[in-house]
Amino acid sequence: MANGTIALAEKSFYQEGTTKRKTGLFSWIFSTDHKRIGILYLTSVTFFFVCGVILGELMRLELIAPGPTIVNAETYNRFFTLHGVIMIFLFIIPGIPAVFGNFFLPIQIGAKDVAFPRLNLLSWWLYVIGAVFALTSLYLPGGPADTGWTFYIPYSIRTGTNVSYTLMAAFILGFSSILTGLNFITTVHRMRAPGMSFFKMPLNIWALYATGWVQVVATPVIGITMLLIIIERTFGVGIFDPALGGDPILYQHMFWIYSHPAVYIMILPAMGVVSEIIATFSRRTIFGYKAVAYSSLAIAFFGYLVWAHHMFVSGLSETAAIVFSFLTFIVAIPSAIKVFNWVATMYKGSIDPRTPFLWVMAFIFLFSIGGLTGLVLGSLATDVHLHDTYFVVGHFHFVMFGGTGTIFFAALHYWFPKMFGKMYNEKIAKIGVGLFFIAFLTLYFPMFLLGYNGMPRRYFDYLPQFHTLHFISTMGAWLMFIALSIVIGNLLYALKKGKKAPANPWGGVTLEWHIPSPPPLENFEEIPNVTHEPYDFSQLEGMEYGTE
């Protein structure tokens, strides 16, 4: 793609920063370098992921048998609320865009940084402040919220727990997300290297670009909802609270008008990463580049129009239910197109199934199950039965964890050599992904059966007939813990003891593989002039690549 040369013997961004202070904590937390900010996000996002996993493990332990096991109902209700809030707002939403988007978006389009580097730093700070708000509630009288991450009114008004701190956290984190989106959109429009037209951009950029628009357009709704709640509480104007004459259903609409598009903020960036990894390890161009690019935009657009499918049994009119069910089926199509194009990209490729590729294969299987079970929930007759049951819990864990979570790890294994300049042990990494796959199915597949048999979600206790399936699921949770420990442990070890990584270990051709690992401060010695298609592997001739 680029005619740029590999800059040799230059200092990496670890040795050279943007701050006056050259080393230490301050050279990181005040750095405006997009790569350092990406790593700040990686550190904080991984920390909260681990917190969320521990809460999830505790929940599964509680559910290993009917009746109280390790905690009481009150604590369990706080566990699932915190698990949801942490995983959604502090891990999945910022996860891929803020970590890998920050690090690689400017590099992949041939820019020195994002359009607004200081704004970029501000979004990380807002993330930290939001996280502090979420955690403060743990230590205040009343304790953490017990409402579920949906904060449905009127329960969230009646509960004595610290809901307002958690809502405030969501509000602040929303701004962090908006600023990241705004930054990415502007960067893509204004900072592409000469020759890089929109259709020469890597598909990862298309996905981040589409995500940026969803972040900017949808996220303010959660801010507006928050302001309305403040107005309601301060001035006693009935908006949502039925005790004041408000409408709790209006709250559900407002919540899902943000939170459904937010689901696409979570999954779209993952889809971008999948296209990168499949192209690189198949060493050929993406099958149907334009279809994949446009389907990102289609998902972003239709994603706004399906929110009320979360509310089919709330008393929605029959007409509204039919319209939203129809649109829900339509939004399934662009995702299906992507899956077909990804598989077709493997056709007549030269496939080297290295660790990142194995993660992607796991993704295609798990995400397909997530998507296909979404059809069951989009269909009205079945949704009325399955709404608010474990079927839904299974569905969104397949989409969010099997989809975005899996790709978070795929991206980490794909770009780890570039980000840290170190290689990890591939044998252990492959054991990790294999075990993850088995653990995942054991943990979440029983939830579909539980749901169809009528097990409602957010239940501290359950009827004896559900015991076996819950028990299997908990076994899966333990396996998952082992799998994640292997995966994360392996990478942490590589960070310390890993072999030095070459500039292009996988034989990739997008711009990040043309610069040293880790990259220098402003990425390129000279801004490249882009002449190739994004996945034109003829560029490999004359490039040094491979792990040995």
Partner: protein
Amino acid sequence: MLYNEVTSHANQVDNVMIYITVISVIFLLGITFTMLYFVFKYNRKKHKQASDIHGNALLEITWIVIPTILVLTMFYFGFMGYKGIKKIPDNAFKITGIAKMWQWNFEYPNGKKSDTLYVPSGKPVEIQLKSLDVNHSLYIPAYRVKQDVVMGKTNYIVINPEKTGSYDIACAEYCGLNHSMMYTKLVVMDSTDFNEWYASLDTQKETDTGEK
């Protein structure tokens, strides 16, 4: 599990479920096996040189059109299994259901009250649903139906009990501490038994006698 033969609506929902599941499994297996086949067949060890195929308009149109048609049939069957479940028949027996943290109460036209939902078989029943505190959801898994009970608003649900027996009623909308304990029973009796129960004056103590 599937096809409990309790109501014709439940069977219809199971039919939709089977229809979507069969198509989904075919797609899932198709995608998975194609992917595995490619990974083995075009492994770099055997297949050094990839061919760049940029796309194939006909193929791409096919895999847009066929899935679109299939999901639209799913939409249609899902809609057919939903249409009319909100329609209140003229001969419906009217009951009021009141939810509060964490119990259900049912009030009958003659003033009888019960925390178990007793209904006669073979007659449609309309339940007007009200909440005294937060949102709840009346969920009868065996019937494949549920309806949120929203504070400040009256929703309703129509059920068509056919087979006599006793079925679980759960609360499906999270409502706080004892949400998972908010279970009661739907007891379907034949009309003679029901009329006997309905006419009895012993209103408050009636809880579990219908379970046989």
